[in-house]
Symmetry: C2
Subunit: 157 residues, 2 copies
């Protein structure tokens, strides 16, 4: 099929779709009181979850070292999105939990993403969007959540 698009357009479009959605999310998030959040912060907080976790566990979940996870937690703690506590059953562990502000940002993010999805559905149709999501679900690994994006893309080794 010589009429097929060249293969390099596909990754570019996927990235642009991702970037467009995330940029619009953060523009709106900024208007709603969270101007200092970066794209990766949302993924990290999602990975922390409502039950909390530790730096080492977070690192494993995100595919980065525990030191890198610890630094990111430092940043989020400085911004007021997470809080550190102790584990009564294990003096080594320090539990990281979302603060009220952290939960608020996740709630708003979910709502904004729903709105953005609705706009996409209005543009190409709900059936087409549904098919797009279904196809991507087929083509991508199910439980994969890599968050080493800066290093992965730019190359820290």
């Amino acid at each position: 099929m010589s009429s097929d698009p060249p293969g390099f357009e596909l990754p570019l479009r996927l990235f642009l779709g991702f970037r467009t959605l995330v940029d619009e999310l953060h523009a709106e998030l900024g208007r709603q009181g969270h101007p200092d959040l970066r794209p990766m912060h949302g993924f990290v907080m999602q990975a922390i979850g409502t039950r909390g976790t530790t730096a080492a566990e977070l690192g494993r979940r995100l595919g980065v070292s525990k030191q890198a996870a610890g630094k990111t937690i430092d940043t989020l703690e400085g911004l007021g999105y997470v809080e550190r506590g102790t584990d009564p059953g294990d003096a080594r562990r320090k539990i990281v939990r979302l603060s009220e502000r952290g939960v608020d940002s996740l709630v708003r993010s979910a709502r904004i993403f729903d709105d953005l999805r609705a706009r996409w559905a209005a543009t190409i149709g709900e059936d087409r969007l549904h098919a797009l999501e279904a196809d991507l679900r087929t083509l991508t690994p199910p439980d994969y959540f890599p968050l080493d994006v800066p290093g992965w893309f730019g190359g820290y080794q």
Copy 2:
């Protein structure tokens, strides 16, 4: 429509699709003699093009400072993928051109991406993949090529 997927799945799937394709590209690229290329290098070389460019122009094209573009060129030059030359008509400008090795990596990348696209077409069907590409083309800006990914995602401001 309470049966619609939550909005946050869409950006995640788009990113995973992008990441899956690029990871498989670089795995194969590594087997074909280019093990030290990072994801961003391909985008940068694509932006340099066969006609060559300058650091300042490259920075404008990629949305980063000329200093950042210059550093990336330093890296690619050290890896042997680009070469610096002078501009006979303007002593200030230093033209950056793809080396033979750089062109080879782009040719191989294009072929590998075509193969990966064919595999996706075999999985979900050429018509569905065609629709997916067409929809993404509708939903994303046409001539946008942002390469500040590490900073954009992680946050250098």
